[in-house]
Each structure stands twice: as C-alpha cells, then as structure tokens.
C-alpha cells in the first residue's frame, strides 16, 4: 500500500510539473503575441494574420490546464457556509459526496469532449485564419478535463486517508481563495 501511495505522489508531482510548464509557456506566448500585434499595428501599420486566433486558443488551453492545478490546490471557490455549519464528521461525508458528483461531471465532459474531437476529426474542419485542424484545437477540452478528473480523484484519496490534514487545508483554502478576483 505504501509503495502505491509513493507511485501516486510521484505521478501527481510529474503531472503538476508538466502542466505548469505548459501553462507558463502558453501565457507567456500569449502575452508576446498580443503585444507584438499592438506594436506591428501601431508602429508599422501592419496587421499580422491569425495572431489573435492563436492567442485565443492559447487562452482556452491554459485556462483548462491552469484550472486543473487550481483544483488540486483547492483554490476553486465554493459556497461553504452551509457545509461549515455541519458537525465535523458530517462535513467529511458531504465533502466526499461533493467530490463524487464533481468527478462524475468531469468524467462525462471528458468522454463527450473526446467524442467532439473525434467528430471534428471526421469532418476535418479547419480554423478560419490559421487553418489548424479544429480537432487539435478542441482537444484541450477533454485533455484539461481528464487532468482535472485525475486531480479530483487524488483529492478524494487525500480526503479518505488523511482526514485531519484536510480539515486544516479547508481553512487554508479560504485564505487561498484570496488570490482570486
């Protein structure tokens, strides 16, 4: 059992690392694209073709990937006052029920996201200006949600095996919410 946890932790941190890299580079590239668009348009009166499209696709991509990191860190905001009013023991069951529902949702979106990609693959639709296959563009939805599903299951795992740790984490979560808008 102990080894299993080790493998899981290892996988978790690896995925975290890869997702972070993807997210950092997409956001940086997006900034570069938008800024160069302004510079080229205003200084050289030259509007670059398809830049905006690419920036938008990067935005969607890093949003879903970033959300998976936020999910693992418990940084997603919920309305917790009703839950907090319950006795501690009941809270744990409510949390588990919540994670169960969330995982079902994530699973369904992942499955139907893949179906969407497959159907786009068949029609071979291309993006309006850059002519990228839309199946590739849309694949960030199922991939992002697959990551979220994995992270959500890890959260359930945490909740099940180290309940006391989670109790503190919940309070920390509120301060972490802080970073949100």
């Amino acid at each position: 059992m102990k080894i299993n946890i080790k493998i899981l932790e290892n996988l978790d941190s690896k995925i975290d690392w890869i997702t972070s890299i993807i997210v950092i580079y997409s956001l940086s590239l997006m900034l570069l694209l938008v800024f160069s668009q302004i510079v080229f348009r205003d200084l050289f009166r030259f509007s670059m073709y398809g830049i905006e499209e690419l920036a938008r696709y990067l935005l969607v991509a890093f949003s879903f990937f970033g959300a998976s990191i936020a999910l693992r860190k418990n940084e997603l905001v919920g309305v917790t006052f009703a839950r907090n009013a319950l006795p501690i023991k009941t809270q744990r069951w409510v949390d588990l029920a919540g994670i169960f529902l969330v995982s079902i949702f994530l699973m369904i979106i992942t499955i139907y996201g893949f179906r969407l990609v497959v159907s786009l693959l068949k029609t071979g639709q291309l993006s309006p200006s850059l002519r990228i296959p839309m199946s590739i563009v849309y694949s960030v939805v199922p991939l992002g949600f697959l990551l979220m599903l994995f992270r959500s299951l890890l959260n359930a795992f945490d909740l099940f095996f180290c309940c006391s740790l989670k109790k503190n984490a919940k309070y920390k979560q509120i301060t972490e919410e802080s970073k949100k808008i």
């Binding site: 959300a67 919920g78 529902l101 919410e177």
Partner: protein, 429 residues
Amino acid sequence: MIFVVAISFILILLLGIPVAFVIGLTVLIYMLLTGLPLVLIPQRMFVGLDVFVLMAVPFFILAGGIMNAGGLTKRLIRFSYILVGSVRGGLAYINVIVSMIFAGITGAATADVSSIGAILIPAMKKKGYELGFSSAITAASSTIGGIIPPSLPFIVYAIVAGNVSVAALFLAGVIPGLMIGLFQMVAIRLFFINKCPPAIKHEKIPLSDTLKEIRDAILALIMPIIMIGGILSGIFTPTESSAIACVYALVISLFIYKELTFSKLQKIILNSAVITGACFLIVAVCSPFGWILTVEMIPLKLTTWILSLTNNSNLILLLVILFLLFIGTFMDTIAALIITVPVLLPTLLKVGFNPVHVAIIICFALYIGLITPPVGICLYIASSISGLSLEKISKAIFPFIIISILILLSIAYFPDIVLFIPRLFGKIR
C-alpha cells in the same frame, strides 16, 4: 422541470463544492432531463472561453504580480509617504492613495489588497496604528481597484451583457472610484483619527532624498496615464491595455529597477495562470448555462413577473441592489456577474435605465461583497496578512461598508455622477 433543475442547483450549491462544478452539474442535469446532446456542453464551454476580451483577466493579474515582485508597489508607497507621511493618520491616507494609483494600473481588488497590505499592514502596526483599523482600511480601499479604470469587473460585465462599450464603462468608473477614495479619507479624518498614533515630529527629509523618491516612483506613477490615455486615444483597446501594463511593468522591473529574477517571474506567471484558470472554469461552464437561460426564456419571464408586481423603476432598482448586495456576501464577483447579469439586465433596461449606469451599479454592488462577511475575499486576505481574526476585521470594516453602500445609492439615484464623463468624451449619448 425548471423547478427541479433550480432545486438541484441550490442543493448542490450548499454542498460547498466549487461554483464552477455547481453550474456544470446543473447544466448536466438539465441536458439529461431534456434529452439534449451532451456534446453541446464541452463545445459551448470552448466557445465561451474563445473570446479575445477575456485575455485582460490573466494580464491584469500578471501585471499586479510583476509590479509587486519588481518593486513598483514599494516605490509608490514610498512616494506617497513623502506626500502625507508626516500628518496624523498619514499611513492610513497612504493606504487609500496608493490603492487609487494601483487601481489606475491593474483592474482587480485582490491584487491590490494583497500587495499593498503586505507592505502597509506591518508598517502601520509598527507605527502604532490599531491593527483592526489598519486591516480594515487596507481591505476597504482595495475595492477601488475594480472601479477606477482599467477594471476587471467592467470587462467581464461587457462580455456578459454585450452591446455596451468597455471604454464607456471605464470612463463611467472614474468618478465613483475617486468618490470612494475621497470619502474613505474623510472618514479616516472624522471617525478613526483616534486609532492613529499622534504625528511625530520627525527630522525633515532632505530635499535630495525627496527628489530621489519622486524620480524613483515616476516610472510607476505615469503608468495609469499611459493606460488610460492609450485607451481613450484609441492606440490600444481596453483589452490590449492589460498586455501593455504587463510589458511596461516587466521592462521596468527587469531593466531599470532590476529587482525581478527569472525564477520569480516564472512563479508569478504560473500563479496568474492558476488564478485565471480557476476563474475561467466558471466562465466556461456559464456559457452553456447562459444558453439554457435563453432557451428557457428565464430573463423574459422574470421581467414580466417583476413588472406585474410593480412599475416603479426606483423600487425595482432598490430591490435589485439589495439582491446583489446579498449575493455578493457569499459569492465571488466574477461568478455572480456571469450568473446574475443576463437575468437582471433585461428588467432594468425595460424600465428605462441607461445600460452604462446599470453596469456600474451592478459591478459596484457586487464589489462591496468583497469586503462583507461571511465570504469577503479581501477580508480574508487582510486577515491572513495581519493575523487578526475575521470577526475583528469585520467589526472594523463595518463603517466602510456603510460608506460604500451610501455611495452606491447616490450613484444609483443620481445617474449623472456616472454618466457625466462618458458623455464628455462622447462615448454615450
């Protein structure tokens, strides 16, 4: 059937799971009940995020992060200290003034409270200010961040509401934003001066030092002018101004102040992306949700129902404000905007309010929610910085909430306060 969906929405909400998933599950339940193809959900979610204007969100958060790590915030505070540092309650005034300058650069209140609070709350404590008051004024003044342009809630509002110009909203936010700052400073002078330590006669700062501080801060000080000037003159759009803010802050931090390292920058970018991801997950699931609202004609039904009760536009506005203040106490601003605007807007427009006026009222009312317990995000940040319990800060912030509500009501019933500047620039008729 809509009834079943609404009940399940409330039940799932009370479970305390993230709002994004509450909305997502509600959409799922609706789709399953009506037998619509589920593939619509991922497709609509993608389309909901595939919007250029949304880029302002990560960029403004990023700009705030860079400004803190790069030392721009620190210099702004030192500069303000020269202005009012020697009067009684000086640091409290500085708190408000820096919030106002900061508001002219980034568009989010939380960036404001965490960065200014991290420097000023400890400084105020050291100088002998009451801790509850210091935390409260930091949290309260941060709400200016989302009202003075550039402003994140206005951008999100414009996306949700459609056909309202972001530039007009930005201009409309100027006077309300200045009003909050001014009223807060007056409140400090009138009600809280006994919570500040008496002014100390400290040695005169030599003129050369003063000049040095000003020269140091000038690069940060001209930032709001570049931003707002650029937007108004049409050199860049409000969305693009967020990218300009990032690049400007980045260039200054890297090459002039030289306080930003590459590894720090990586962390800031990652952090901005994660915060954005958490926020955009809600935006994404709200896209199919909004579609359902339209299909079921909920806004239309609500409008008809409200108008059957009363035709008094002032009364309707008051009810809407109370409702928004209530929603704001427990819900995140962006989520609340996306859920409530499509539902409330048709009614308000129908009874004859100006779209820009309505926009400011809705955003302002929800923004007050940032400093109201039980779920006021700015309060939580101030509490985690000062180490003071939420209850104590809540007590201290109460007068500031009252001030904000009074300003909100005056904006609501004297629309010219809001509409004056956009008219001046010809953005609205």
